[in-house]
Amino acid sequence: MLHHRGPDDYGYYSDDSIGLAHARLSIIDISGGHQPIHDTDKNVWVVFNGEIFNYIELREELIKDGFVFYTKSDTEVIVHLYKKYGLDFVKHLNGQFAIALWDKSNKRLVLTRDRVGIDPLFYYKQGKRLYFGSEVKSILPCMKQSPSLNANSLDQLLTFWSPVVPNTLFDNVYEVKPGELTIVESGQIKHHRYWEWEYPAHGQEEYLTGDVNELAEELHEKMVAATKIRLRSDVPVAAYLSGGLDSSALVSIVHHHGNVPLRTFSIGFEDKQLDESSFQQKLIKHLGAEHSRVVCSSKNISDNFEKAIWHTESTILRTAPVPMMLLSGLVHDHQYKVVLTGEGADEVFGGYDIFKEGKIRQFWARNKDSSFRPLLLKRLYPYLDITKSNSRAYLEAFFGVGLAEPEVPYFAHLPRWSTTSKIKAFYSDDFKAKLNDDAVENIQSSFHEDIQRWHPFNKSQYIEARSLMAKYLLCSQGDRMLMSNSVEGRFPFLDHNVIEFANKLNPNLKMKVLNEKYLLKESMKRYLPDEIINRHKQPYRAPDIPAFVHEGRPDYVNELLSENEINNAGYFDHKKVGILLRKIDAGRATGYKDNMAFMAILSTQMWHHLFIKNFNRYAN
């Protein structure tokens, strides 16, 4: 079931209390890194997905302490670190990981994930037995009966783009939270947080001091270190190149400091409005990289949609993950197993428009009755016609939501959450009756207890990193699409040393007035042409509805969205779905809301078809 995550080797361990199984993608210590790995006494056993990048330093330290290694793999340091530090072992790891550690003599199982949620890990309790795995599909064969969709999780997803951690779309299946240890001992499950996104208290001068040039230099040093350590590998490492600032900066660091051949891969679109090829070409020419590119058509997206949902195991609100699967396929076809990507820079250094919009709305909230302040939104949305008499009402309707309460931590996210929630109009009455939880109250209860002490910009960053990034970008659009083709992504911007440095910066250095990723640009401008540094950020997008109507709707779309299938699944109202389909056929479904609703309904129906309706496929 998880062959795609580990096609190179398999290993098993079992005793009276536990069974561990592992599928390996061999990257470090190709010949000797067979898992599970154990200590000298065969008392502590580990299966592990991911990378411990600082394993060389940790290994040296442990050897000095007298620990004896039988492999050269990064996995073995986990075993000895646990023996040395107990549950604190995880604090010493710089990496991306999902770890299951079995301490036989204490009958203790430790499940843990990296700090930010790069590598997935799920668990499911059935009676007295606990099952866990990197993807839910590995747990399905253990279920005695078909799983069901958790209505509240879908409701959360149709607000925040993902269920609130630790929920999944599958009822009673949970994920191990990023930055947390899940400890199973004496028949009990306990959770222990070892790392959290944290920011200084605002207004108490706790931010890093130093002038811009000094801080930019410090950031540069940290980024070089974070990138170099991620080049540690016994197989060649390549990089994704989008043409934007983040991936261009990474590729430049590899070029100047990596001492490895520069190999890059990118995705292009037939739709020129979505295509960034010209910027990719500029940088390739600038640095002289060997580059490969795959062009994604609408047909590619609709042809690969079912496969993508099988991997995401989730509803998605855009097709954007599908081209990422084609891209990892290109990497795989060129015999590469590892790529660096620029993911995380926008969350860590303040690059997204949602942060900019939040700042402008805060600026507006300082004087709610101002005639002029909301017009700054034109910086973000140039198509706003501010001369029309109804423009004020339009602005207030879309961006004025929550203006009276600028102190709420999710102030910047309210317009997005409010727009996404419009999909809920398609719920069936039966489904609505199953909802018994308020999505916003739920996510709010998961926030850090100090969040109200932080600067509004940091509050937005925190929410974005823990929700959309961890649970959609790194997961549905990240790990799942990479691993669908047995490719590992590495994320230098998400090195915890980089994050902890960035989190201590004054927010005004991340976004200077409305200049996003200001300090990052200052630190990287030594490498990059001005046109890339000053380029307006282009969000990564792929065609949504148009991907499914290019030559009439594919058969599976008609089938999944038929009255019969919609009613059988029971989540949506078939009459409303029918109206949306007629609008699409008439070419009138061009808006953001219609596209998102169509994607939500189609992907949920596909999810239902793959995992609920055809559950017997897994059970047998």
């Binding site: 402008i360 600026f363 300082r366 101002s370 302040r373 017009l375 700054l376 007035v513």
Partner: protein, 80 residues
């Protein structure tokens, strides 16, 4: 002096895309010279509020207060 220097650097970097101090005189009219457009003026106010902890009222958004480095410095000092 600190207000003037911070303000000049912001205008140069954000609107004139240069660090050449000679590109901007303190008397230059932002509007006449085409340095700042209609939303740029709001961005300038945003900067003043962020950098100098002042709040600018709608009725204060007039060229006498905001149309040159000299005018802005005087205006910010008067708000302090």
């Amino acid at each position: 002096m600190e207000i003037e220097s911070k303000l000049r650097n912001f205008i140069l970097e954000n609107y004139l895309f240069t660090d050449d101090q000679s590109a901007l005189n303190n008397e230059d009219s932002f509007l006449d010279k085409g340095i700042i457009d209609s939303t740029g003026i709001l961005e300038l106010i945003f900067f003043l509020e962020e950098a100098f902890s002042v709040v600018v009222e709608d009725e204060e958004m007039i060229p006498d207060n905001l149309d040159s480095v000299m005018n802005v410095v005087k205006f910010v000092e008067s708000k302090a």
